[in-house]
């Protein structure tokens, strides 16, 4: 049975690059601090305090707005979203709102992703993060009390809301990868930090009721949550059970979506404009300032990698898909300019070591090359050795395999390997000698047909169990063929 699936996303990313909170001077680096140590009278919502808009966050949100092809309103404003919850110090959240007039920083955008696909962006808005509730026993259902940590309260968030333009969870994954690469390139959010990017999704099939999925802790889980939810809804449809319009929570441990225990009735948030923050005029000067100060976006970088360095679209795409990878590539070029060679080493060979590690879920939060002892200087050195034919590609690969663990420079290791081969020259000579004795007919042929020398080389490699340097061994064979 054919079904149409519609998926929309609501992405939150913390502007960790802004250094301070959205409405006060507290640090945005709250992780790992003692509970309620990263607060001030403003973000704790003490009586008499007023919000002070952090200018940097407006600039960052504007960059995201431009990167997602959204339009700016002439001015932006903040609204109070009123609801009671213990993680909200003021019992309202400062956010933006478009019901009465457009006040959010971006609207009506479109982002291309994957190969020629695109999704419409409904809006981009700035808002504050609430505090964190810490349940004594780890879960809401079984705890008798809850602890509140306001260290996160007031962190600047950019909310990106898409239209329901996705049909396949795989596309969602690709879209989220693109968003990650964009915000990393803009330097506005360190996506590696736990909880710095979060995503809620809504799913409906065959024009049925919309189900919201919340509590998805990482981008990686979004695809899983969506697959589960689509299967659930399809199963219900096949049994002719109507899907209810509801909010479901992703259970990270059991990998299922489940009904929310707390009744989430239709809340009336009583939105109204925040009187303490005057409207912020954006204007063309601001926009051109943002355009000027905006770092290179991944798409532009890809173009540049292709035109300037002659990389293939595929290789360039792999590099820009992760800012860390692209930066590594360019840092390597600063040391030794051999773009194609270096790109290959990074994308094909170096990544093979990363992939191993990435299979482990827990490593997703870490830097790509964390634990690998290689830097751009190693790859530059390796590429130079290959280019100068000091070593061949097979040896280079062998060297890479070792230095990712030891951090030794490739040239130093190559020198050592070379030295050990000279020591072993007599062993190799003996091996060649015994092959010449065993394969006299082949030696005879080889003197007339140089191609047969390769057969002899194969024999040498066999009795040395592959430890011989084939280049040196072949030289030795050819020399001996002439001598005798």
């Amino acid at each position: 049975m054919a079904t149409t699936t519609k998926i929309g996303l609501e992405i939150h990313c913390q502007l960790t690059g802004a250094k301070s909170k959205l409405f006060c001077r507290c640090s945005s680096d709250y992780r790992g601090k003692a509970p309620n140590a990263n607060i001030c009278p403003i973000c704790a919502g003490l009586p008499g305090t007023l919000p002070l808009l952090n200018q940097k966050t407006v600039e960052f949100a504007a960059m995201i707005t431009l990167a997602l092809g959204c339009k700016f309103p002439d001015d932006i404003a903040f609204y109070r979203k009123n609801y009671f919850y213990p993680d909200l110090p003021k019992n309202f959240q400062l956010t933006q709102y478009n019901a009465y007039s457009i006040t959010s920083i971006g609207v009506d955008g479109k982002l291309e992703y994957g190969n020629g696909k695109d999704a419409r962006i409904r809006r981009v808005q700035l808002e504050e993060d609430p505090g964190r509730l810490v349940y004594a026993s780890g879960s809401m259902d079984t705890s008798v009390y809850v602890l509140i940590d306001y260290n996160r309260a007031g962190m600047p968030l950019v909310e990106i809301v898409t239209e329901p333009d996705f049909a396949d969870p795989k596309d969602v994954r690709m879209f989220l990868d693109k968003i990650t690469s964009i915000i990393e390139h803009l330097g506005v959010c360190d996506t590696k930090l736990e909880g710095s990017v979060r995503c809620d999704a809504n799913v409906s099939i065959d024009g049925g009721n919309k189900v919201e999925i919340k509590n998805i802790s990482s981008f990686a889980d979004v695809e899983k949550a969506l697959r589960y939810e689509i299967t659930r809804q399809r199963t219900m449809a096949s049994r002719e059970i109507q899907v209810r319009s509801e909010t479901r929570h992703w259970d990270d441990a059991r990998k299922v979506t489940k009904e929310s225990r707390t009744k989430e009735e239709e809340q009336d948030y009583r939105y109204f404009p925040e009187p303490d923050i005057p409207m912020v005029l954006l204007g063309s000067e601001f926009v051109s300032f943002i355009l000027q100060s905006m770092p290179e976006l991944p798409d532009t970088r890809k173009e540049r990698f292709m035109s300037k360095y002659g990389l293939s679209a595929h290789i360039a795409q792999v590099l820009i898909g992760n800012k860390e990878l692209a930066d590594f590539f360019e840092s390597t070029l600063m040391i030794y300019l051999s773009p194609k060679e270096i790109a290959n080493w990074i994308v094909t060979d170096l990544m093979s070591f990363v992939d191993e590690r990435q299979k482990k879920e827990e490593d997703k939060q870490h830097l790509l090359f964390a634990g690998l002892k290689v830097g751009p200087e190693h790859i530059a050195d390796l590429a130079r050795l290959v280019d100068q034919e000091t070593i061949n590609r097979a040896t280079a690969k062998q060297i890479l395999g070792q230095i990712v663990r030891t951090g030794e420079m490739p040239s130093a290791l190559a020198k050592k390997m070379h030295a050990s081969r000279i020591d072993d020259a007599s062993v190799l000579a003996q091996a060649v000698q015994s092959v010449f004795q065993m394969e006299q007919a082949a030696v005879h042929d080889a003197r007339r047909n140089s191609n047969v020398a390769n057969f002899l080389l194969g024999k040498v490699m066999k009795i040395t169990k592959g430890t011989a340097d084939p280049k040196i061994a072949l030289e030795m064979i050819q020399k001996k063929l002439k001598e005798d």
């Binding site: 009586p47 009336d268 009187p275």
Partner: protein, 482 residues
Amino acid sequence: MPLPLYTLEAGQVVEGIKNREFSAEEYISQLLGRIEKVEPKVNAFVTLNKEEGLNRARMLDKKIRDGEQSGPLAGVALSIKDNICTKGMKTTCASKMLESYIPAYDATVIKRLMSAGAIIIGKANLDEFAMGSTTEFSRHGPTRNPWDISRVSGGSSGGSAASVAALECTASLGSDTGGSVRCPASFCSVVGLKPTYGLVSRFGLVSYANSLEQIGPVGRTVSDVVSILNVIAGSDENDHTTINSNKPTYSLQERKGLRAGLVMEFTEGADPGVSKMIYNAADTLEKQGCKCEEVSLPSVQYALASYYTIATAEASSNLARYDNIRYGFDMNPEGYEWNSYFAKARSNFGEEAKRRIIVGSYVLSSGYYGKYYLKAHQVRSLLKHEMETLFKRYDVLIGPTMPILPFKIGERIDDPLKMYLVDIDTVVANLTGMPAISVPAGFADGLPVGLQIMADQFAEQTMLDIAYLFEQAAKVQRSPEL
């Protein structure tokens, strides 16, 4: 016998202490004695700052003996409305919800006053969270009018105005959201000023209705009010709504020939006794060379509805934070789920605060926003436009501050609508963001009447010129017998 020190004006206090005619310690001691004597009758204070006040006075005396700079308000003793945050000193907002709340920081105005040498003598009574026009809605009991202690002091800055009138301090700071400085100033026959919105920092003022309110000085003379305004005015990096301008300095100057518009709607709606005093005041101004004409402000009929819509909307959201989690009073959470705990704790708001939270939540609820909140803002623009048009022809607009005389305690407390109606003349200045001042105009039936003078935005100097001119000419009796 010379006049007691506590009768002195701010300027005389500063000079007297600086010239070592008397010490700051003597002055503060005398005031504390006066407070002890009259406070049982007036009930203007919520908290007294005796020890700390005396310490500050002694430090100031030492500074002066050592020949150091002492500041433009050196030794001036202020009562501070108890909704303005004072570091280390209780700030209760006359509410159970903040009964033991001690702020961790000083309001910007407090910082500025302290560095000018002022001494905080205590925190003044108010209606809970500044919501009221009589100071009857206080957890600490009503503040009584020093001119007749059976009557209300006005509000919500009743403690501020009464403490100034009763000679319990040199001057005071109040806050004015819909007339809360001018109303008690009028009822207690003192001077009360509401600055242009954005002239004085609100950082540290516990919010009731952010888009309407300003902190304002209360004093026995225009001169005292000017000295305090000069210290507190000017932009503040902690309040985005303060304008980016150089710090203004206001002076007392005799200016003749100013044009005043007497607002018909205000005099027509007032008690005859009040109206008569206001027409007298207009005569006095004319005699001083001012040109007075009757003018009309038709949109004023919508002002109260607009005011109570906006004020309650903002209040309902501002008061949401009082859930007894981060500060508040002792209440065991055992046996409650957080929602029921919030509800139980918040049932401790007083009647008037609850009423405004409910009204405010209603006008903001989905589907009603356009009908109420948005419409209220349209009225606001309309009023502002009408006022601006009038200010092209007149330097100031005048009228009564309050349409009625101070009434008996308890008289209107059970009739909210009747209570709201007394704010009719004062809310216009808050809705339009324009400055206004109430100066004593005399007495009707032995009770004080205040003359309200309004000016265009940031035209405080012109407003003060007329106020000073009137004060000098009218020579209204200063303080009551207590």
